[in-house]
């Protein structure tokens, strides 16, 4: 600590000129909840940083040009092959530039981790209900980041102009052309004429290195700023309330942890890039419109689209001289439309169904919202089937399953698997809730058997610890709409929100969504939300009475300003 004075001096100097000390202090005191799943988003953030850094390196050597050249470089099996400059320069990055192959591989592995981490991060947010008010907007930003990242990856994948990237572009062109009426124009517009033309690589290049990274940077900043401003959600637990955040403060704990975590992410990317070859474009050869290879797959984040195309029956119709290619339009737009559109609308739909306009800063344990968790797993199953089907030829070849059999399995399970996943997940959640209730009411079984004087055997139980009790008691159930008037339809006037077809639908959906095992009462957590009506402010949220237990000013706790 000998240099603290010097550092302090610098601090004063900076603060006098920037007035940055107060915000910096607020930043340093920011509390991060200690739950592993809160680090998933950081994998994405750090991969993005790695992508930008390695991407800048690649731009120094990559030539975004479709001019024909004859290759006479180090990789001798392609000696004398005609190819585009883009492809030749990627070969040069791989074989001539010092460290070039490693950086290319880091860029590509980081791209896979980036999108993969976004996916698991989004699943975490969904399953814990962290998207609820006031965070719906950040959820939408997240979906935008996810969507744009997929395009960023697709365009990057297309840049080297190898056989697989060209095949991917060919499919992209097919999808564009399938758009009714304007499809052909769109395709000519993007490719500047016939496929593949000579402008697509330079165009994709600008989009890939400038436009989308800029957009992503802006969206990620907005995402982080909102997260920072609204503070983290937290998992339920002892001392955690809707008005505080319990965890480690930014400085020094979280700073050290997240710094270490950056190095973990970087280490994993570096190890993968050192030991696992990715996108060996020299084996694919340059793009050649008459060539196609077995194992033509996109990167995994496009896999579900590919799978949708592969299971689609070959339906085409002709309306007034225009071909409508259902076999492309449906797989290209419907499945991912359902997933992305559904994800974007879900927070609002859920709010409408539950009539719950409260703010939520304490997350749900997935089991405590069985229907939501079931719907999430159904989406995972739907996406998963399409994803696997995207690799159908590889699966067929490796597991020796006939290709068409696989296609039919996928055609059936794309409808069946989500239903099964929904049902099974919901049952599991309700089972876990029952177990929680049992724990609360009867305590933990200790395994010690006692014999009573009467000769009866009993197992000794011990009440759950306070920490566990706080977690178990976090289950309040989702708000239920009032029960419909019992018996005779004439009796009682239904609430305005229940009238009409929409109202009835809403009540019915509410019944499904709020299904759960009743929480044991008598501990101050009765279901006081039963009479909640649209527009009414909610009752005191669960767990609030624990807030007082922590000493004020504890370094691990932060007040949540009201209104956020």
């Amino acid at each position: 600590m000998s240099n603290s004075k010097g550092l302090g001096g610098v601090g004063v100097f900076l603060d006098d000129r920037t007035r940055g000390a107060a915000p910096a202090r607020r930043f340093m005191r920011k509390i991060f909840p200690d739950h592993w799943s809160f680090l998933l988003g950081e994998i994405a953030l750090y991969s993005f940083i790695i992508l930008i850094l390695t991407g800048i390196f690649l731009t120094l050597f990559f030539q975004p040009s479709m001019t024909d050249v004859v290759y006479h470089g180090v990789y001798h099996p392609l000696d004398g092959v005609r190819m585009s400059e883009a492809y030749a320069s990627t070969l040069n990055i791989s074989f001539d530039v010092r460290g070039g192959l490693l950086l290319r591989q880091i860029h590509h592995w980081a791209a896979l981790l980036f999108v993969g981490a976004i996916m698991v991060h989004m699943l975490r947010v969904f399953f814990t209900g962290a998207y609820r008010k006031p965070r719906e907007f950040n959820w939408i930003i997240g979906i935008a980041i996810f969507t744009i990242s997929i395009f960023e990856g697709l365009f990057g994948y297309s840049l080297p102009d190898d056989l697989l990237s060209g095949t991917g572009l060919r499919i992209t062109q097919g999808v564009l052309q399938s758009v009714p009426i304007v499809g052909t124009y769109l395709s000519f517009f993007l490719f500047g004429g016939q496929f593949p033309g000579h402008v697509i690589i330079p165009r994709l290049y600008i989009i890939h290195v400038l436009i989308i990274p800029g957009l992503l940077l802006a969206l990620i900043s907005a995402h982080l700023f909102l997260m920072f401003h609204q503070k983290h959600t937290q998992m339920p637990g002892k001392g955690r309330t809707e008005t505080n955040v319990v965890g480690a403060p930014m400085y020094p704990y979280f700073m050290a942890k997240t710094g270490a975590f950056f190095f973990f992410v970087f280490a994993v990317v570096a190890l993968l890039s050192t030991f696992a070859q990715i996108n060996p474009i020299w084996l694919f050869g340059p793009y050649n419109p008459s060539g196609i290879t077995a194992g033509s797959q996109p990167d995994f984040y496009m896999g579900a689209l590919e799978g949708a195309l592969r299971i689609m029956p070959n339906w085409v119709s002709n309306v007034g001289g225009y071909t409508i290619a259902w076999n492309v339009i449906i797989p290209a737009f419907v499945p991912l439309g359902i997933i992305f559109g559904g994800a974007a609308l879900w927070p609002f739909l859920e709010r409408w169904i539950t009539g719950d306009h409260r703010e939520h800063h304490i997350n749900d344990r997935p089991r405590n919202a069985p229907t939501r968790t079931g719907i999430g797993m159904a989406a995972v199953a739907f996406y998963g089937v399409l994803w696997l089907e995207g690799a159908n030829d590889v699966i067929a070849a490796q597991l020796h399953i006939p290709l068409y059999t696989l296609t039919w399995i996928a055609r059936v399970s794309v409808f069946l698997a989500p239903a099964v996943a929904y049902w099974v997940t919901k049952r599991i959640c309700l089972g876990l809730q029952r177990k929680d209730t049992h724990l609360l009411e009867h305590g933990v079984e200790t395994g010690i058997i006692r014999q009573l004087p009467s000769g009866e055997f009993i197992e000794v139980t011990r009440p759950v610890s306070e920490e566990v009790r706080a977690v178990l008691e976090s289950r309040t159930g989702l708000p239920q709409l009032p029960a419909p008037a019992p018996g005779e339809p004439g009796e009682g006037v239904p609430a305005p929100s229940e009238r009409g077809a929409m109202g009835k639908l809403r009540v019915r959906l509410n019944r499904v969504l709020t299904e759960g095992i009743p929480v044991p009462t008598g501990n101050g957590h009765g279901n006081g939300h039963a009479e909640l009506r649209e527009g009414e402010p909610a009752a005191v949220p669960s767990g609030a009475d624990h807030g007082r237990e922590l000493e004020a000013g504890s370094p691990d706790e932060e007040e949540r300003p009201s209104g956020h």
Partner: protein, 268 residues
Amino acid sequence: MSLITARRRRRAAGYAVIVLGLLTAGVAYATVTGQPGTAAAATPSSASPKQIAEGASLFSVTCASCHGMNAQGTSQGPSLIGVGAAAVDFQVSTGRMPAKEISAEMPRKPPVFDTAQTHAIAAYIASLGGGPAIPSAAEVSPIGADMALGQSLFITDCAQCHNFSGAGGALTYGKYAPALTHSTPTQIYEAMLTGPEAMPVFNDTTITPAQKRDIIAYITTVRSEANPGGFSLGRIGPVTEGLVAFLGGIGSLVFASIWITLKRREHT
């Protein structure tokens, strides 16, 4: 403090062991798979009556049950009259024939007959009705071939079934295009010439003999190329990459984040 450093050191040792293990595995892998199949079979210059007789007797013992006493075909196997010596050499030297059981496709197996016996049977079948002959060593030699042309021919004519690196791929109805990892230049030539099962025939007008050598040169060179980027992940495209990214990448980072947040709880 010292406890933490000790623990860290143990972790570092763990990483070192993993790295070392990966390196050893890599070297072993490269040594095992680095050998290109180059043994080109010697070709019979001309078939003697003695050789044909030997072939006929081998045929009647092992092949006739399916292909008929005079190779005229049965319900178990097609007629071999006119398929030529090249087809027999391909089928027998790759171990496909004699077939054990009838499946969607006869797999490559260790051959039952040695080269002389194979050539004898081939001579016998050729004597029944001609057909393409076994190519000579010079006809299949990759030396001096135009690999650049071989590359583009391979991608246009073969990769759609055999994959860009010859790793193989699925076809319909349980059939598959096998990996070309072990095919000798002669077998590659014969496969093009005779078009076994689902594979089309690439006769000398579709792909000239010189172009066949170009393709052979490309296949045999690329399959023996080392993988400069690390483990090849099977050279079957992005599917294995995605699998590794999820299981290896995301998986290990999830463990890391669980570990990093667990630590904190121990402290408090």
